[in-house]
Symmetry: C2
Subunit: 331 residues, 2 copies
């Protein structure tokens, strides 16, 4: 963890400086709304991953920075829009964009972040990255944004269904979360001029890490300390998200318990007591341990792929820490 | 008009085929929602403009098609999101996306169109356009999407104000509407390998045409036949849009009339009778003739720029028709 944290610390300011440079503009209200979540915090996992990989294949961080800014901007665009769709009122310990500025401006603030992500990636050209590599990187970014939208559509659709399978859940989180991890890693490798096999392996490393990340995210939504999480715990239950925990729990309940559980799941008017009850049913089903073991399996797979790459050894060590951090984190 | 119409007719199928090819995917509901407005119609002005210009500078339409699809996808993305923000229920004679699928899926359908616009422009590479030109074109597309978002933010902000000036209105429509016309024209010239001066002149042609287009759009919102317009007339009045007509009318009214006019403007509960009354006040103020003369001035400016270019003469003739059509159209 120490190497990773030190590295993340060392590049964070550069990432943020470029992002906030890109988010200077008029009208002021729109740009303020766009910056809101970025200013509130966030771990910058995707840009750190991208920069580390670019460096591991021999590219200066300075040249890779626009791509790092791009993936973080894209990520924040999805957060702003998802919060509207999911009616989430808090994130990163602050009110969400739409709960401050209203839905109309929040839609637009998200759109602006999306647009700025593509402005950012095109800035690779100005830092001397080869044109063909800029195009290849931008294609990955567009692929990721399409895939994330598909994943979010599945996630919303699943809320209406009681027969979502674990396999369907895995496909959904692969699109909604793992795709942008994968694209971030691949873009880092691409712009450094890595070969196709290296790009594939490092992409698989990140894809598997991303899947583990989302599973742990779903666990933290039930178990985490609210102030560390930055948003209300149990919101997944209230919104009726079909997480791996819910799918596992449903498979373990008898008919009576199942109907009680389902009466709380997705009920926007559920009391805190009811939400706690549903969370208890999840915990006592063994779903948490089950999900954590699956997440660990994905981290193992990720590390297997990492070992197939010929990335710089010091960076590989850091990426291993990155994947391990994913399952150990508390927020 | 005849040359332009024949040309638009000849390329429309190719544009649409590529767009609908790009909009094949899962989940089905998301992709259906994304295609909805595109299937409902639309004039395809921006892609036709782009293709004509690319051709006028010597590039095969076949090679330019991905860029044409990109600008139309981007345009439709803005329509889907704007309809949510403006709470518009009809467009192109069909219910808007959010009024069929709900706001959450409509946000996502717009996001998907946005993403597909960038996927499309990157496909220029696959058709043999030089990498540096693909990057230059994609930069213009990103610039346009940022600028359109800024324009929409101004448009919404103006609804809350009674002191919007004609100059502010011009800046707003330049961003909201003219920017994408400009980018479409510039992209056409860029990918054909035109020089910077040509790109600038043809961009100015399209920018001025785009300004005229929006002014006429605002006039049609008051005067047009509802079935031709494809959406309720007077919706601009109901939404409180500060169009050039409204700004001009406000400058001509006495205090009593002004307060009556403002009581209707932006009142979502205004009766049809009240909306007609406000429209009458606009018409009798002379605003329509005033706005039309301004639009014509912009078309003249556009044509001046067109004449500075060295684009193919046949295409120049068609582009002149294009600009003249803008002010003569009835929908």
């Amino acid at each position: 963890m120490k190497k990773l944290l030190a590295y993340a610390e060392s590049v964070r300011k550069d990432i943020d400086n470029l992002i906030f440079e890109l988010l200077k503009g008029q009208p002021q209200e729109l740009y303020e709304a766009s910056m809101h979540l970025l200013k509130a915090g966030g771990k910058r996992l995707r840009p750190v991953l991208l920069l580390a990989i670019a460096k591991g294949y021999g590219l200066d961080e300075e040249k890779a920075l626009p791509a790092a800014a791009a993936v973080e901007l894209l990520h924040n665009f999805t957060l702003v829009h998802d919060d509207i769709m999911d009616r989430d009122m808090f994130r990163r310990n602050v009110p969400t964009v739409h709960s401050i500025w209203g839905e109309a401006l929040a839609i637009l603030a998200g759109d602006l972040l999306f647009s700025k992500a593509f402005e950012a990636i095109m800035m690779l050209e100005d830092r001397g990255v080869r044109h063909d590599l800029v195009v290849k990187a931008a294609k990955k970014l567009a692929w990721a944004s399409t895939t994330v939208a598909e994943g979010q559509a599945l996630d919303m659709d699943f809320e209406k269904r009681n027969d979502v399978t674990e396999q369907e859940y895995m496909i959904m989180i692969e699109k909604k979360t793992a795709a942008l991890f994968k694209a971030s890693a691949e873009i880092g490798a691409i712009i450094a001029g890595a070969g196709d096999e290296e790009i594939e392996y490092i992409g698989e490393f990140a894809r598997n890490t991303g899947i583990a990340f989302q599973i742990i995210d779903d666990i933290l939504g039930i178990t985490a300390d609210e102030s560390k999480l930055g948003k209300p715990v149990f919101s997944d239950i209230r919104e009726g998200k079909r997480t791996i925990l819910v799918i596992y729990t449903l498979s373990k309940l008898n008919d009576k318990e199942r109907s009680e559980f389902l009466s709380i799941l997705g009920n926007r008017n559920a009391t805190l007591e009811e939400l706690r009850k549903a969370a208890e049913m999840i915990k006592s089903s063994g779903a948490i341990d089950y999900a954590k073991s699956i997440a660990k399996d994905y981290v193992s797979k990720a590390i297997d792929y990492l070992e197939k790459t010929s990335i710089d050894k010091g960076i590989a060590e850091m990426l291993r820490e990155f994947a391990e951090y994913i399952v150990e984190r508390e927020k």
